[in-house]
Symmetry: C3
Subunit: 346 residues, 3 copies
């Protein structure tokens, strides 16, 4: 499957993982998460090596997880440490273990060779931990029957907002404005600047502008390989510097389940009207509607049209507005080729 393995993926929001086992499928691998007696998140392969029962159907016993079927127990290094029917535990009875880092309310997991796990590659979502500075929407989680690369295409070309989200996230101002795109080996950024357009609905709901008000607005985007996405949206009175305006952070954290499905975790933060619960709810409703009623049906339809064929084999017409999305596809492709080359050599 076309996934980068040596990379950090979002395994869960911190609040999802409790002592009881939590099952996730990430880039096709079955993973079970649980907290040990010290509160640390443990991530193990979710298939018992004896009779292939999912460990998450069993129980956590102290620092160990017990298979539901015959009671074998595994420790945080994936070793079988207890066989109820024998004093001996077979040395071959092991499950994979995955490096995990919990940071800023996100549980990150390294899906590749544990020896190469490099914490400095975890993208920065520090604002998610600044609980006194921001008001947050709920930490949301949606499952979508869509290939994650199609969602990245979508997120990296916000020009679709005018057509797919004309009354929610976008408006006709999206057809104008300027975009600057930059990239490095594992990151693509772009900044859009739209002067003098109608205020985006998000800021109308946010109480910052009224419907039809003219504003200057911006979208600053940062994608980190393989599928973490940061978006800052901001508005300022026409002609005023950004500092006079208001902005919102948002995180779009994609976790591919397999080639056809993903888990989409989303949160948005604002540093104004922080005690206004109605604004929070209004933003949550607006975004949920746009994602599930506008984006998802089209992306699922695109996936059906592609019918499992490779994106490039379908010879897509490339527009200028595709620049950042194409950069993301090529960056991912390059990283996967490099990874495959390393594996072949090893």
């Amino acid at each position: 499957m076309p996934f980068l393995k040596n990379a950090w993926y979002v395994a869960a929001w911190s609040e999802e993982v409790e002592q009881a086992p939590n099952a996730q499928t990430i880039i096709g691998e079955h993973v079970v998460l649980f907290r040990d007696t010290g509160g640390h998140v443990i991530a193990l392969g979710d298939t018992c090596p004896h009779r292939f029962a999912p460990l998450h159907m069993g129980k956590v016993m102290g620092d160990h997880i017990q298979c539901p079927y015959h009671g074998l127990r595994f420790d945080n290094r994936g070793r079988c440490v207890h066989n109820p029917f024998d004093k001996v535990t077979p040395a071959a009875a092991t499950v994979p273990t995955y490096p995990v880092v919990e940071r800023d309310r996100i549980v990150w997991i390294w899906m590749g060779d544990p020896r190469t796990a490099n914490e400095s590659l975890i993208p920065d979502f520090g604002w998610l931990g600044e609980l006194d500075t921001y008001a947050y929407t709920a930490l949301s989680k949606m499952e979508q029957s869509v290939d994650y690369e199609l969602v990245l295409d979508n997120l990296m070309d916000l020009s679709h907002g005018q057509f797919l989200h004309p009354t929610t996230l976008g408006n006709e101002a999206f057809a104008t404005g300027t975009t600057e795109t930059t990239s490095t080996a594992r990151e693509v950024r772009f900044n859009r600047w739209n002067p003098g357009g109608n205020a985006p609905k998000l800021f109308v709901v946010g109480g910052v502008a009224r419907e039809g008000d003219k504003v200057d607005f911006w979208n600053d985007v940062r994608w980190d390989a393989p599928c973490s996405y940061y978006l800052q949206v901001g508005v300022t009175p026409v002609g005023q510097p950004r500092e006079q305006g208001k902005f919102m952070h948002s995180a779009h954290l994609l976790t591919p389940v397999d080639a056809n499905r993903l888990v989409y975790r989303y949160v948005l933060a604002r540093n104004f009207a922080m005690d206004n619960r109605d604004i929070t709810t209004g933003i949550e409703d607006l975004v949920r509607y746009a994602f599930t009623q506008e984006d998802e049906p089209v992306l699922k339809a695109v996936q059906q049209r592609m019918a499992g064929r490779d994106f490039w084999d379908l010879r897509p017409v490339i527009l200028k507005t595709d620049k950042a999305a194409i950069l993301v596809r090529r960056t991912l492709q390059k990283l996967m080729e490099d990874e495959r080359a390393t594996l072949t050599r090893a």
Copy 2:
């Protein structure tokens, strides 16, 4: 997929196609239909060449259709004529266009090479347009999870009526009578003549005979490649010429969606008791019951039994009553082989 491409298929009833986009899948190809400002039906490939979104999820703007995702617009020749984000529209941004003929309330579509579209091959259903002469059932449309060739087998051998439709379309008289079969390169016809049997239920519902009345009755059938079927059923008092009797036209217009599904369009016309709405409803109910409760379950079961294997590879036992059905299968096979040979040469 085993379909004749250079052929006319029924894309829709005229009344199905309005200005708003209408999606059809025909022999595996995604097609969008809409009416331009002149009321002409346009048929285009339903997949945007940019990011593969279905055009039918977008909007018709005058004579053009606009992609739902990024707003590219296409004209009736399938060319991109508007890119909202650029003055230039890429020459490569085209979608296929299909020849369309609207005639006698049917929209016909040519699925092969547009240069070879030949209107003289459209089968004659002129009676469908004679609105003053006939009373019609509703123009009905059913989706069935069945290969269209199995439906043709069914329609070309009406002897099944006695067993599958003993109280609806058929009766025990179907085991007797005589059949004459003729064929040309793209057409198979057969005429059945059943003297002195019980009146078919259709004519009882039609008010022409009573249950158990003896009549002479006939079925005249014309199949045109690939999957248009005309049936005339008639009854006359025993020993009297046809002209003394009553008859009904019916059209069975099959449109294969893919190898496992089809759209079945059906209509029946009579030139007697024309103002009797109860008779029309009675016929509609009788036919719908026979198709959906009697034919479809057996045909779906046959398809499951065949499990994707080729009909001939399964070595079917051939009976005398299979003559017309086998002719249709062989005619289609011959046409497809000829077409493949032409494509290979080109």
Copy 3:
């Protein structure tokens, strides 16, 4: 498909088969069962050789079965004996016929070469016919989306009772005790002896012991290839001989539908408290819960984890407690290899 063909499978409980056609799919083959005018069970291939309609959708006419589609009739030797449209019935129009033996309320079917059907290979479930000696639970039938070999693994290693059925069929005593295992060319037996444990719930429901009572208990198991399983469970006061105790017979009769599904027929008999209907209902409820709420979810999950791959290719860790289950797998494998060798030679 990985099935033994020259073997007796359970086609149905006797009470399932009446005059009307009864459809079963057994090791991937479609079979129709019906009773002839003498009350004998006939088993034929369920696909008409003419147009592949399932015969079970037709009707039994005396000793023959009539195809629903065109009325061909077949006798108990699978020969077409009537064609409504022709005096001649084509010699090629035949369906397979299967040897059947009805014994002790079970209809056994031989799925291989009829000439090799050997009644002496039918496993003994004589207690099922001793209606005056035992009280029986209902003859139950469940469909499960599980490979039958996974169910055999489960049944041949009862140590899972402690973990998967801690409050129903098993308890913590299952981790102790001794097991003796023996086998022959087509049979594997094991006897478990658990002295001094808590009384199994089945005997609490049975009114023989109270929750927490200490007892000696046993499980005597006999598996016959390919998938018939007999279990005797018994309890006796601690230190007393078996004859002082109580026991129950049970039959677990698996019929593979295909590689991913089976029909599980189950019945339990006791020779005490025979008139107590509440005990019968209590046992039925307990067992149904254990099978459908405890075993089946884990077995389905195991099957998903295996994802169609071969058991041995997945390199399962083998524990001492797997002895009987592994013997069953190896015995089946040997029998299938021998059968394939015979077929190749023939």
